[in-house]
């Protein structure tokens, strides 16, 4: 990582940290105004993260510099911020910012920490398929993270309503109905994107390595993740099931996302066929 990229990543972290602090102050009631400032900080963090990719792309002469663990973490943070700030613009509230800003900060911190790890060697000729696979997979994960965030907020608001002793959570969070919508809408997009990522991934692995790779940990866990999310969506939309239990199940599915994305790196690497 060149010094400019490292600086951009560090300053982006600073802005995300500031976003988190501002949201904390707002949420605790210590300040009444400041949400616009917090949102501006998050946008600046996102902008710096974007510049980081430009410098990395120029440095490596590639369109999508995500071949190392560090770059993958930074790209996930970028995708999440993009989905939140650009695609799901209507859900921008202080409550979402409160949960998302530490997640963004954590992934950029991981990106800084993991910069010493080596990058994969990828076949140059198949870059277009790889780009579609990566972008759809990361955007799917970002959508699932938004859905998960709404799920956390749903359970917080539900607990507050059950406790009957309203505090800041009760006043600041949207209604259960709105939060429920924000769980399932991004989930649909996430599931579709994940299916695209899986399909293109199989195709790419066949072209690049001559075989469909079904049995590496990341592929298996991704298929389990997709199955879980499809089950949740079936329960909600087809079986009309509502309420806490389905939300909890969606959070279990997100646990699988984390395992696919982070956990499999501690088994036999990410996609083990990349190392063969």
């Amino acid at each position: 990582m060149n010094p400019l990229s490292l600086s951009l990543l560090s300053i982006a972290q600073l802005f995300y940290a500031l976003t988190f602090v501002l949201h904390l102050l707002l949420f605790s009631g210590k300040v009444v105004r400041g949400y616009r400032g917090a949102l501006a900080c998050m946008r600046l963090g996102f902008l710096l993260n974007t510049f980081y990719f430009f410098t990395e792309a120029v440095g490596q002469g590639t369109l999508l510099p995500v071949a190392s663990v560090s770059q993958a973490m930074a790209f996930f943070a970028w995708s999440l911020a993009f989905v939140y700030l650009v695609l799901f613009i209507r859900i921008q509230t202080e409550s979402f910012g409160l949960i998302l800003s530490p997640i963004l900060l954590a992934f950029l911190a991981l990106a800084s920490w993991a910069r010493a790890f080596s990058a994969y060697e990828l076949p140059e000729s198949l870059n277009a398929y790889f780009t579609v696979h990566i972008v759809s997979a990361f955007f799917a994960y970002a959508c699932f993270t938004i859905s998960f965030t709404a799920g956390v907020l749903y359970l917080m608001q539900q607990r507050e309503l059950k406790r009957k002793n309203p505090g800041q959570v009760y006043y600041r969070l949207p209604s259960l109905e709105e939060l429920e919508g924000l769980i399932y809408q991004p989930m649909i997009w996430g599931a579709l994107l994940l299916l695209v990522a899986v399909g293109v991934g199989f195709f790419w692995s066949k072209l690049a390595y001559g075989e469909f790779s079904f049995l590496d940990p990341k592929t298996v866990s991704t298929l389990v993740t997709a199955a879980l999310y499809l089950a949740v969506l079936f329960l909600h939309y087809v079986s009309s099931q509502r309420g806490k239990k389905v939300v909890v199940l969606s959070m279990v599915a997100f646990g699988m996302v984390l395992f696919s994305f982070l956990g499999t790196r501690f088994l036999e690497g990410s996609h083990n066929f990349l190392h063969s």
Binding site: V32, K162, P166, Y171, P174, S175, L176, S240, Q241, K244
Partner: protein, 430 residues
């Protein structure tokens, strides 16, 4: 001229007296018309709500203004002023300004931060303006009070959270279902509070589906009014699956809504949330029902608890609201002081212009200086000479000590104040 406030409010005055003094719209119009004819005050606003009757006036003297108003109240309401005099409060000067800003901000209300008062102050202002009972001073004051009232509500959370039981029920329903659009309601029993809560939820957008009662005649009458269907008390259970909100307030001595029954209903509803409001004492719904996922049960004490929390939240914002009010009072006082200085400054300007005119006329008789150039030169010198003292006086009117400058100007240049000049400046200030 003195600005004053005279009034009675919920704080001291019992409702029996307040209701006798309440002004209807027609009575306000009549009083304002009379006020225009009355010479004891020059401007008047009448604010009459269920919690207060207040007069905001500008008079030659506070005593004169008060006497005139008391005569008017006695005439309009046919009540002796001795009956309400012990409850009267009077404010003048800065205290009066502060009072009206606090009233508009909802800081003097029975329910702190309530929004209704802002609309009532606006109506009082409009009525006075329509009947030309306002001039520059009260007009500007009312405008600023309304602006401050709005600022307090947008910059603090003083008006957040419902306080009355029916509005708490609506707030909770909206926290569960979002904006109420056709959520279905069933009411068990036709008690006063349950009907009030039902109406509030209906007004918020929910659909009243069933009215359940033992007394068919009364039940049908309530159902007809609400556009709902009457259901007999023995038969309501099978309808529970269809509704999202259940309000219960029967006189039954034991719970009539049971845990197992609601659990079954929730399975049939595929866990679509259910909001149960139990206003009855003794309670109609088993407390354990709240343990079922996606069921939100609130009894009367729970609703009161939410109301108390909301009030606490509002009270925690009082300090911030008071600071905004103080800032507005300070700005208005500063404007008033500038207004007081204006006649002296105008005389000083005329004084300077006269001298410059004379001296420049003398020069122009020797030099070639036409009329336009002479005037231009006079205005430029006058503006340069006045710039420094005007800035100092403006600053002093904000920070205090403006009187010494005015006195000095008057003494040094012989600028005595002529009668009614201050009143005239008020009229031109709007």
């Amino acid at each position: 001229m003195e600005f004053f406030v005279l009034g009675i409010s919920h704080k001291e005055c019992p409702v029996a007296i307040r209701e006798k003094l309440h002004f209807s719209k027609e009575q306000i119009d009549l009083a304002l018309r009379e006020a225009r004819a009355e010479s004891s005050f020059s401007e008047l606003v009448i604010l009459s709500t269920c919690n207060r009757v207040e007069f905001y006036g500008v008079a030659h003297s506070e005593q004169e203004g008060e006497a005139g108003l008391l005569r008017m109240v006695e005439r309009i309401h046919g009540i002796s002023s001795d009956e309400f005099r012990p409850y009267l409060y009077r404010h003048s000067g800065t205290e009066a300004l502060r009072h009206i800003f606090r009233v508009a901000a909802g800081l003097d209300s029975l329910v702190v931060g309530e929004n209704e008062i802002l609309g009532q102050v606006r109506d009082a202002f409009r009525a006075a303006d329509r009947l030309r009972a306002l001039d520059s001073l009260l007009y500007r004051l009312m405008e600023k009070a309304l602006k401050t009232g709005k600022e307090v509500r947008t910059q603090t959370r003083i008006n957040k959270g419902a306080v009355s039981i029916p509005s708490v029920a609506v707030e909770l329903a909206e926290k569960i279902f979002g904006k109420l659009v056709g959520e279905k309601i069933m009411v068990l029993g036709t008690g006063e509070m349950s009907i009030l809560t039902l109406k509030n939820l209906g007004n918020a957008g929910a659909e009243i589906l069933y009215v359940v009662s033992r007394n068919q005649e009364k039940g049908e009458s309530v159902a007809k009014e609400a556009g709902a269907e009457w259901v007999a008390l023995d038969d309501w259970g099978r309808y529970l699956t269809d509704v999202d909100i259940l309000i219960s307030s029967t006189a039954a001595p034991h719970p009539i809504v049971h845990y197992d029954q609601v659990r079954e209903v929730m399975n049939a509803r595929r866990h679509r949330p259910l909001f149960l409001i139990d206003i009855a004492v003794p309670r109609d719904i088993e407390a354990r029902v709240n343990e079922i996922d996606d069921v939100y049960l609130y009894n009367i004490d729970d609703l009161k608890g939410v109301s108390a929390s909301n009030l606490r939240l509002r009270r925690s914002e009082i300090q911030a609201a008071e600071e905004l009010v103080e800032h507005s009072v300070g700005l208005f006082n500063s404007w008033l002081k500038q207004l007081e200085v204006r006649p002296t400054m105008e005389r000083f300007e005329i004084f300077l212009s006269d001298i410059l005119d004379k001296e420049l006329s003398r020069i122009s008789s020797h030099e070639t200086l036409d009329e336009n150039k002479r005037r231009e030169l006079r205005d430029r010198i006058s503006a340069k000479l006045l710039h420094q003292p005007l800035s100092k006086i403006k600053e002093a009117s904000r920070n205090g000590g403006v009187a010494k400058y005015v006195e000095a100007l008057q003494a040094l240049f012989g600028l005595e104040q002529k009668p009614h000049e201050t009143d005239h400046s008020h009229r031109n200030a709007r």
